[in-house]
Every structure is written in C-alpha cells, then in structure tokens.
Amino acid sequence: MRSRLPVVLVLPAVVGLAFLLVPLAGLLIRAPWATLPAQLFSEEVGQALRLSLVCASLATVVCLVLGVPLAWLLARSDLPGRGLLRALVTVPLVLPPVVGGVALLLVLGRRGLIGEHLDQWFGISLPFTTAGVVLAEAFVAMPFLVISVEGALRAADPRYEEAAATLGASRWLTFRRVTLPSIMPGVVAGTVLCWARALGEFGATITFAGNFPGRTTTMPLAVYLALESDPDAAIVLSIVLLFVSVAVLAGLRDRWISA
C-alpha cells in the first residue's frame, strides 16, 4: 500500500530543504574550479584545516569529560537549584559568540579575574594560544552535549540501575556498563553536535584567541580573512570545510546511530 504524503506537510518540507541546500549548492556552483587544486593544497589551507580538526576534537573531548558528569548531576542528583543550574548551562547557547569571547577574556585574559593569577603564579597565559581556541570552542559547544546527554539520562529507566545494584555493581560500574550503553545514542548525538559547533565557531575564538596562522587560525577565521582580499580563496576554503564536515558527520551517523 502506497503511503500518501499529505501536501500540507510535503510542501513546507520541500521549501525547508531547499532553504538549507540551495546556499550550499550556490557555493559549489560558484566555486573557482580552475584554481581549486592550487588553493586546496596550499600551506595555509592545510594548516588551518589541521588546526580546525584538532581543536574541534580536543574541545569535544573536554566537553565529554566535563559535560557527561554535569549532565548526570542535573538529571540524577537531588541538588537543590538544579532547575537554575540547567538554565545557566544553556546560556552559552543563546549568548552571541563574541560576547562569550569577551567574557572569557574578562575572566581568563591577562588581566582577567582568574587569568591574572594564572599568569603571575604559573606563567600560563591562555589568550592567543591554541589552548585558548580549544577553550573558546568548548565554551560554546558544551551546552549541546549537556542538554543531549541530560535528556537521554532522564529518559533512561532507573530500574536497570537498581537491577545492576542488586547484582553487586558499584555506582561507577553501573554507570559505565549499564547507564552509559543505554544512553549511547543521546551521547553520540550530543558529541556530533558539539564537534560540529566547535568546528564552526568564529566569534568567541577570534575574540579570545585572536588570529595567527598555524596557532589560532582555524578554518572559519581563514575564510573570513580570505574574504577581505581574495573571495575566490574564501569560497575554496568554505567548500573544503563543507566537505570535511559532511564527510565526518555522515560517517559518524552511519556507524553509531544505527547500532
């Protein structure tokens, strides 16, 4: 029996799809295919791409290490004021990224609340470093992970954790071998979103970490700067970033979410 798709839904859906895909198609159509190979394998592109991938991945690791326990705290503990905490955790989502960058500067900059002491006591200075890029990206991307994982945890059945307890599993073991596997789709979805967001981050990165090739110039920054002088190069960089992102996201989805 053929399933009938109602026009009322199909039409807006098609418009929505077009809205999302046509700009990407525009990039591909207007690409300077002639100069593509030269640009593609240039030093700057390679550097920026490598830096982008490394920083986004490191930022995602930071988000996982800190975010999953935070999500667990929000979903499962009895802490008072959890509702407020949850709202605060989502602030970086609605904050304009540049504002996030400024906030990071005010706290972790050389004269920042904490940064001042980091500099004086340990000689650690975060602005204008690759670590700074990772930090800025983690700041804007973490809410995606926390919200995703918290949602999955809340939907997970706590009775399985009780069953594990009656079998003698400690809370940590239960988390590792029972809870985590059961929320894995939510964790994966959150990780993918987190990585994608970190990869595309611009405002917070350029404000907090600045711009220097090989150290803090990520792909989005390279695109923006190229736009100043060489729009063709900007298009090429954009296409490279587009393909890399699509490849990683598509690859991840197939492997994990279908399991």
Partner: protein
C-alpha cells in the same frame, strides 16, 4: 542460618511493619492485594529502600546499600540489560563482584544450561520470549550464589499458558536453591504451588501466616477468603447458632462460643427458585448481583442476609434462568459450615 528481617518503612500515607524469619532452603511467599506493601518490603530487604534491620546469622545488613548485600533479585519485568547477550547478563553479577571474565562466563554457561537455555547464550534479550527471559533473569540472580533470593511477581508478565509451565519449572529451581527465598505475588496460585509458607500482607501489616494448607482452610480476612474462593464471615457463636456481623443467623453442626470466623465453600451452597423443604437448616432469600462463568461451573454472587457466593453447574444455571436481579432461595447444610475462633 535463619535470616531475620524487621522491616519498617514510612511513606506518605502508608507504613510498613513486617517481621520475617526465613529459613535456608525455605520459600516464603508474600501475598497481598495491591498497595499492601509487598514490593516495598522486597525493596527494603534488597537495600533499595532504607527501612529496617536485616540480620543473617552473624552479619548485619543495616545501612548496607543494595550492591553490598548478598542478594539476587528477579524483577517483574526481568530488567535484562538490552545491550548485553544472555550470557553476559548472567555473568554480570559475577564480573561486577570481581570474578575474571573466563571464569564468570563458565559459571554463567552452566547456569544457562541448568535453565535449559544453553543454545541461547549469544542471544540478545529482545529476541527472547517471555518464558525464556524469565529463566535468564532467574539464572542471572542465582549465578552469584546469593544468600537471599527475592522474586517480585516473577510470573506476572507471562501469558496464562506459559505461566503454568514456567511455574512448575520455577518450583523445581527453587527447590534446588539452598538459600533463603522470598517470593512476592498477588496470584494465590503462585503462592500455593511454590511456597512452603505464606505470609499475607494487608495495609502494611501481616494479617496471617502459615503453610498454604493452613491459610486456605482457615482464612483470617476477607481478602484471603476471597482469594482462595470461600464464603467468609465474622460472627458471634452461642452453641449451634452463629449471629453474623453483617446480618443473618446460621445454624452450625459443631457448637462454638464467642467471636468466630465462619467459612464455607461456594460449592456447599444450593439455589432454589422457591423456598425448599427438607433438612437444610440454613435457608434465606437472596438477589443475584453477579454471575461469573467458568469452564465447568458458574459462580453466582448473591446479596442478602448474609451475602453469599454459590457455585452451580451450567445446567442448573440455565434451568433457573439466572440473571442479575433474580430473587432466589439459598440453602446450606450446617455440616458444611466450618467455624474457628477469631
């Protein structure tokens, strides 16, 4: 080594007050209506709820969380871990307590063999039937050789025909198990078939305990009587007459004095369209309020002084043209009535 439990749990609008003594190898059934506190008692014993002192021989389980108690639990929905195979599920408890993988797997395999599921070791829980899942859950609970086995409505999730078969198998496994067993159920048949001793729980308090036979023959509350399908009343006896609390007077064969429980089976009740003549001393008028058809008998619920349950053949039912609202005469032989002091 007897396991003693003094369970006290306080909740909003409910309190549990239950003392249990479980002997090793004994299966005790905790039977009661919904809301009686059976599951609460089980969870308190398991350490999933705080509430009460549990002592096993020399060791005291007070304050120990569930993961530190030597228990095994079979949950109503089995709660098998969906991402692990049947073998890994059964081995889970052993590995959680530190046993190495190869040894744990060997023990798990033996248990799966014992419950007859050796060839399903690599299967995932979602591919198992209800009966198979129940057996894996049992194997998982027993694999760690716990001191106390707790079963929470272990057959409730099964359909009727599977339940019959699984119940007898479960009985065999429980008989082999040397530890203490507490079985929580609302199905009296489970209790009758599987338990050595029944504890009836109502509103958080024990109202009766004893062997299945004792409980059936001498129920102490409406719930128990209804459960085992008996007519049950409270009355005051003087000689061969018993005045029933809810109205009516019955003549009994064996004289008694003072407050008594009065019991007789529905099969002892006869129904007549008009007042019968002859020996039965107990006859009264009643109105049909409900009719329940079973395979070979019909159970009729009648309102009167007193209200009564009667079992009649289907033929009689047709003959009398019984429906709710029909007025009939109830007759009962004094010799069929059983009284015992309250």
């Amino acid at each position: 080594m007897t396991l003693h439990a003094d369970l006290r749990v306080q909740r909003a609008g409910f309190s549990l007050h239950l003392d249990l003594a479980l002997e090793p190898g004994e299966v005790v059934a905790l039977l009661g209506p919904n809301g009686a506190g059976k599951t609460t008692a089980l969870r308190a014993l398991a350490g999933l709820l705080p509430g009460g002192r549990v002592r096993s021989g020399e060791s005291d389980w007070d304050g120990l969380p569930a993961e530190k108690r030597p228990i095994g639990v079979v949950f109503q929905d089995y709660l098998l871990f969906a991402h692990l195979t049947a073998l890994d599920n059964v081995a889970f408890g052993l590995r959680a307590r530190g046993t190495r993988r190869t040894e744990a797997n060997a023990v798990a395999r033996r248990w799966l063999d014992r419950v007859g599921l050796a060839d399903l070791a690599r299967a995932r829980p979602r591919t198992l039937s209800g009966g198979q899942a129940q057996r894996v859950a049992l194997a998982r609970a027993l694999a760690t050789s716990p001191e106390l086995l707790l079963l929470d409505e272990p057959l409730a999730a099964l359909d009727v025909s599977t339940r019959l078969r699984v119940r007898s198998e479960l009985g065999r496994h429980l008989a082999d198990y040397p530890g203490h067993t507490l079985l929580v159920t609302h199905d009296p048949l489970d209790a009758m078939v599987l338990a050595d001793r029944i504890v009836i729980l109502e509103d958080g308090r024990v109202v009766q305990q004893g062997t299945p036979r004792d409980v059936v023959r001498q129920p102490r509350t409406d719930y128990v009587a209804h459960l085992v399908g008996l007519n049950f009343y409270r009355g005051v006896a003087s000689g061969t007459e018993v005045r029933l609390g809810e109205g009516g007077t019955l003549t009994i064969a064996e004289p008694a004095e003072g407050p008594v429980h009065v019991v007789f089976p529905p099969s002892a009740v006869s129904l007549f369209p008009s007042k019968p003549a002859g020996s039965p001393r107990n006859t009264w008028q009643a109105v049909v309020s409900g009719v329940e058809q079973h395979a070979h008998t019909t159970r009729v619920d009648l309102d009167g002084s007193p209200a009564v349950l009667a079992d009649i053949t289907t033929a009689t039912m047709a003959e009398l043209r019984l429906q709710p609202g029909t007025t009939l005469w109830v007759s009962l032989k004094a010799t069929e009535i059983h009284t015992y002091p309250r």
